[in-house]
Amino acid sequence: MLDEKVKQAYRKITPSSELEQRICGMQIVKKPKTATLLYSKSVLALAASVLLLLGSFTTVSYLKQLSSVHILLSDGTALLQEEMRLIPDHSVSALAAMPRMASETLEEDANSLPDVSFSFEISSDKAVSLAVEEGTLFIVNESEGETERVEVGQRLVCRDKGMTVCWSLPTSAQNRTYRMTIGTEEILLTYNAQTDEYTMIRNGTDR
């Protein structure tokens, strides 16, 4: 019944090449003890300069599915509050309000900071993997008062409850479009500086 032919056929069941990339790219990043580093204006100015050099849009790929995400602008305005695909095992719950530390970190020196930031909170026990292709992510652990900066090309796994991910983008030009992917969902955000309006397009649908 379970002869050699079946065994050979069974062994043809193989994972996608993406899984290998996901696993081999995993690393556990220990939060730095000198968390105040990112609070200095010079470092923030440097981070903003790097952002401007790196380009106008940032892609953040979540290798785990999110259950729900609220994206807030740095002024606290809700931009997107919508349930994403529900996979209980990989739940990332919504952010009720902009965390105080994240706000302080990003608003300390308005001139040297990107104009738009998004944040959401990881409140799941499960791991969420983040990969930064362009731009910069700030991971803020409010309970421990620590901040982690994620560099381009770096991938890390977030697990701690209460961690906040701040996605910071430059908006120096009049009109900019930013892109973010969450799982297979693609979100395009267009900012019109003249009208100070944001347009959200998600998978080709105006929001």
């Binding site: 379970l2 032919k5 069974y10 069941i13 994972p15 899984l19 995993m26 556990i28």
Partner: protein, 167 residues
């Protein structure tokens, strides 16, 4: 404590994550896939297994001990995911044939994957992954006689399904 190396034992140095994936990635995926009947869920279960390895950094006595740990964590992870699911999914022949499996063997695998989890896991580990009954007992946290019993019952159930289709 099963997975903790004793102090007087030589600690086996685990290879890098890349090497571990090359060694166990496929077998873990196949076992998770058989339990979850979903490619995406199986990949998530394997990723979670490796994540637990990175977080816990367990020490192993030898390679067999290491394999048993990975299989046990992957199997438990898949069962946890299965319990949380409201709808139990089954695999269609087309889904199995996506792996370039011939239709005749795909039918046998479909029958095998349709068995209750506790039977198909031991059948797969023993007959398709060539893992000894003693090692399966350690992976599944069962006695050797319980594994043998599941193998007998699993074979009978698979035979009944196959014969039922033929008749």
């Amino acid at each position: 404590m099963f997975f903790m190396a004793k102090p007087d034992e030589t600690i086996y140095a685990s290879p890098s994550c890349e090497e571990l994936y090359a060694r166990y990635g496929k077998i873990l995926f196949r076992v998770c896939y058989a339990i979850l009947c979903s490619k995406e869920d199986a990949e998530d279960a394997v990723q979670e297994t490796f994540y637990k390895y990175l977080i816990k950094t367990p020490t192993f006595r030898d390679e067999a001990h290491e394999q048993a740990w990975f299989l046990r964590v992957a199997s438990n992870q898949s069962k946890d995911m299965l319990r949380r699911r409201k709808i139990r999914s089954t695999l269609s022949l087309e889904e199995i044939e996506e792996f370039e499996v011939a239709p005749e063997q795909a039918t046998v695998l479909q029958d095998l994957f349709s068995l209750p989890e506790k039977y198909k896991t031991v059948l797969i580990l023993h007959y398709l992954e060539d893992i000894s009954i003693q090692d399966i007992a350690r992976v599944e946290n069962l006695s050797v006689s319980a594994v043998k019993m599941r193998l007998v019952r699993g074979r009978e159930m698979l035979k009944n399904i196959t014969e039922g289709k033929e008749n």
